[in-house]
Symmetry: C2
Subunit: 482 residues, 2 copies
Amino acid sequence: MTIQEKVNITMQRAGAAAEAWSQSAPELRARFLETIATEMEALDSILIQTAMQETNLDEARLTGERMRTTGQLRMYAAMLREGSWVEAAIDTAQEARPDLRKMYTALGPVAVFGASNFPLAYSTAGGDTASALAAGCPVVVKAHPAHPRTSMLVAGAIDRAADTCDVPTGVFQHLEDEGFDTGKYLVMHPQTRAVGFTGSLSGGMALHGYAQQRPDPIPVFAEMGSVNPMLVLTEAVSKRGEAIAQTCAGSITLGMGQFCTNPGLMMGIDCMGLRHFIEVLGQHIAQAKPAPMLHEGISRNYVEKLAQTLGSKGVYLAGQSDAGAPSAAVAWVSGDDFLQNPHLHEEVFGPFSLMVICKDAAQLAQALDALGGQLTCSLWAEPEDLQAMPELMSIARRKAGRIVLNGVPTGVAVAPAMTHGGPFPASTDSRFTAVGIHAVRRWVRPVSFQNFSDELLPDELKNKNLRGIWRLVNNSWTRDDI
Amino acid sequence: MTIQEKVNITMQRAGAAAEAWSQSAPELRARFLETIATEMEALDSILIQTAMQETNLDEARLTGERMRTTGQLRMYAAMLREGSWVEAAIDTAQEARPDLRKMYTALGPVAVFGASNFPLAYSTAGGDTASALAAGCPVVVKAHPAHPRTSMLVAGAIDRAADTCDVPTGVFQHLEDEGFDTGKYLVMHPQTRAVGFTGSLSGGMALHGYAQQRPDPIPVFAEMGSVNPMLVLTEAVSKRGEAIAQTCAGSITLGMGQFCTNPGLMMGIDCMGLRHFIEVLGQHIAQAKPAPMLHEGISRNYVEKLAQTLGSKGVYLAGQSDAGAPSAAVAWVSGDDFLQNPHLHEEVFGPFSLMVICKDAAQLAQALDALGGQLTCSLWAEPEDLQAMPELMSIARRKAGRIVLNGVPTGVAVAPAMTHGGPFPASTDSRFTAVGIHAVRRWVRPVSFQNFSDELLPDELKNKNLRGIWRLVNNSWTRDDI
C-alpha cells in the first residue's frame, strides 16, 4: 500500500466517524479523555523510559510532562461536563425576528502533528489531540519521527481507552511517520477539516501552504515558536540585577533551552547595571551543566546556528558552559549591529540568549519593534521604568500573545487565562490559543437553528436548560430556563 | 500619485492610529458609532435617493437597509458599553501558577470591501466597518465601484462623526475605487492586519490569495454567498404545498433575488404534492414584477447564467415572469441530471431557483451532500419527514452556518444567535459570523498579562470589576470583584 492509499483509508475512516463523534454525549467524550489519562498513567515507567531513550529528556521532566498531559485531558473532560464551552446563544422570537439559537459544532476530522520537544504534552495525546477530541472532531495523529515508539505507546493507550469507552472506530487514529509526504497527503485530503501543528516555521508554513492550495482551504493552527524577547530595564537591573540574572539563566538553560517560550533575546539600555547583569549572567551560564539535546538534528542545528551568531559582526560572547554536549551560551551585541542584521532577530533553538545593548530608550523601542510576532514578551521592570517608557508596553502588546512582568516566559500554565499563540510568525492565526480550554475554539464553528421546535433542538439549546450551562439569552447571560 | 502610493499613505496613517484606537475608551468608540448612525440619518433623503440611482433598489428597501445599518452601529455601541465582549479571563496565582489575565485586543488596521447588494448595511458603514471599529481597529474602506457616490456620502457622515467625537485621524479612511489594484495593494500592505469582504467567490478568493502570499499571512474573512438549498419534504408539501410555494416565491424574488441568502436550489422527492408545488410556484413566479438589477454587470451575468442553466440537459422551465427587466424564473431537473452536472450546483445570482426532483430519499441525501458549504440550508418539513430522514438534518448541520426549519433563508436577523457564514465556499473561515455581536471576534486576538500588578492592568482585568462585566475568574463566570 502506498503512503497516499494509507492516508486515504485513514481519513475516510475519520470522515465516517465524524457525525457520530460530533453528536456524541459530552459524558462519553469526557470519560474517553479521562480514560486516556488513566491508560497513560498505567503505562507507568515504560512510557517514561521509552521517552527518555528517544528524547534525551530526563525522568523528572518527563514525569512532570505526563502530569501536564493527563491534567490537560482531565481539564477538557471537566469542560465537557460543565458544558458552557458550546457558547449557546438564544434569541427568542420577536415581532419581525424568528426564534434563533446558536452553538458550537465540530469542524470534522483534524490532522495533528505533534512537537518534538513535548513528546507527551504536545504530541500524540497532547493539547491539540485532547482539545480536538473534546470539540467532537475525529483526530488523526502523525507520529513525530523523533519519538516514534513513545508515540506508538501513547496511541496504544488511546486505543485501549476507546475500546473501554465504546468510542466509535475512526475517532482516533495514529499514522506512523513515513516521511514528509504523509503530512502533505493528510493536509490535502478532502476529509481533513483542520490541522494542528507545533514545530518549526518551515514545517508549519509548508502545511499552511498545502491547506491553502486545496480546492477548499482549511484552517491550520501552527504554533511555530518565537524568540521571546525579554526586556531588562534600567531601574530593575540596577536594583536587582543579580537576582534577575540568576532567574534568567535558569530560564535560558531549562530543558536545554528546548521550549518554544525560551527567551532567546534580551534587550536593555546601556548602563553599569546592565553590564554587570551580563557579566553575572555569563557566569551562571558558564556553570550550566549541558545535557544532550532532543535529537541529533536539533543538536546539529543548534551548534551551527550558535556558531553563526557568535561569528556575526559585533557579537561578543559573555559566557559559555563547558563543551561536551552542546554548550549553553550568552552573548551581547550593540543595538546598532542588531538592527543592521536581521539574522540576529531569529530563533537559535537551544540554551542560548543574545543581549542587545541599546544606546537609549528610542533604540530599545526600535529594536523591539523590529521583531516579528512573538509568543511572549517579558519585561523586567520597576514602576519607574514603565513610566519612563510607556511605549514598550504598547509594542509588547502589539507583538505578543502573552506579556510577562518580572518573570520568565518559560512555564506555560494550563489555565483559561493563558494565551499560547501570537501574531505571525509565532502562529498562523493569532486569534486562537493552543493551551487552555479556549484551545477548543480552533476546531469548532457556530451553527444557528432558526424556527426550530423545542424537541428538535440540541439539548444545549432547548427552553429548559437541561445541562445547567451559561447561555446568552436575548443578549443576557443566564443559567435559567426560558 | 500612483494607486500604490495612495494606498501606502492611507495604510501608514491607519497604522499610526492603531495604538490610540485600540486603547481608546469604550465610551468614545460607542459614541463614535452612534454618531455615525445619527449622521447617516441626517443625510435623510439625499442618501436614499443617491443609493436608489446607483443601485436600482427602491426607497422602501433602502430606508429599511439604513435602519438595519444604524441598528447595527447602535448594537455595537451597546456591546461596548456593556463590555463583556472582551472575554476577560482571570486566573489568580496558585502554588506553581503565576497570576494570569487575558482579554481581547484589536488586531490592527482592517481593510473593508463592501458588497454591491447592500450599499449601506454591508458597505462603507456596514457590518464589517462597524464591528472592526468597535473592536478597536482602524478601518480603510474601498468604495464599491457599483455605488461610489453612496459610499462617498456615507464616508462623509463617518468623517463628520469622527470630527464631532474627536476620533484620531486615520481611524476611518475611505478610498475611491480605482480598479482591481487598489484592493490588491490594500491586502498586501504591511500595515493591514485583517480583511473583510462580502461578494463573489472569485473576488473573495483573489483577496484571500493575496493575503496568503504576504510574508506574514493575515486573516481574510470573505463572505462569498451560496446557493442556499431549500428542502421541500414530502409530508410538508402534501399538507401545505400551496402556502409554501407562495412563501418561497416571495423569497426567490425578494429584491430581485440579490441576497446572498437567496434560495437558488430546492430539492424534494418526486410525488404528486411536489409536482403540484412546482406548478403553483411557477405560477407565482410568472406573476412576479421584474425590476432592474443592481447594475449592468450583475444583470448581464444573471441573464447569461440563467440561459446556460435553462439550456442544460434535463432542465425544464416551470415558470418565468414577463420579459422587460431580467425575468424571474423557476425550473426543475431530475436528481440524476443534477448529480451529473456540477454547474447546476452553482449560484445563479438573481431571482431564480432550480428544483431538484429526486427519485427517493437516498438520492435527496446524495444531492444535498454533493453541494459545497452553505450560508443556510432550509427544510420545509413535518415531524414525520424528519423522522423518516434523520440524515438530512445531519447533512444540513455539516454543510451550513444556519439551518432554517419551515421558513425561508432570506432575512438575516441582526442578533447574537445569528450565524452568517458557513463552510467554504460560503466563507473563507466558518469559525466566524459576519452578522451579530460575535462578528467582532474576526478582528481581535487574546492577549495575556502574567504577574502584573493591579495598577498596570487594563480596567477590564483589575481586581475590582470596574466595568461590571462578566469575567471567567478561576474558571467560573462572575461579575463580582476579586
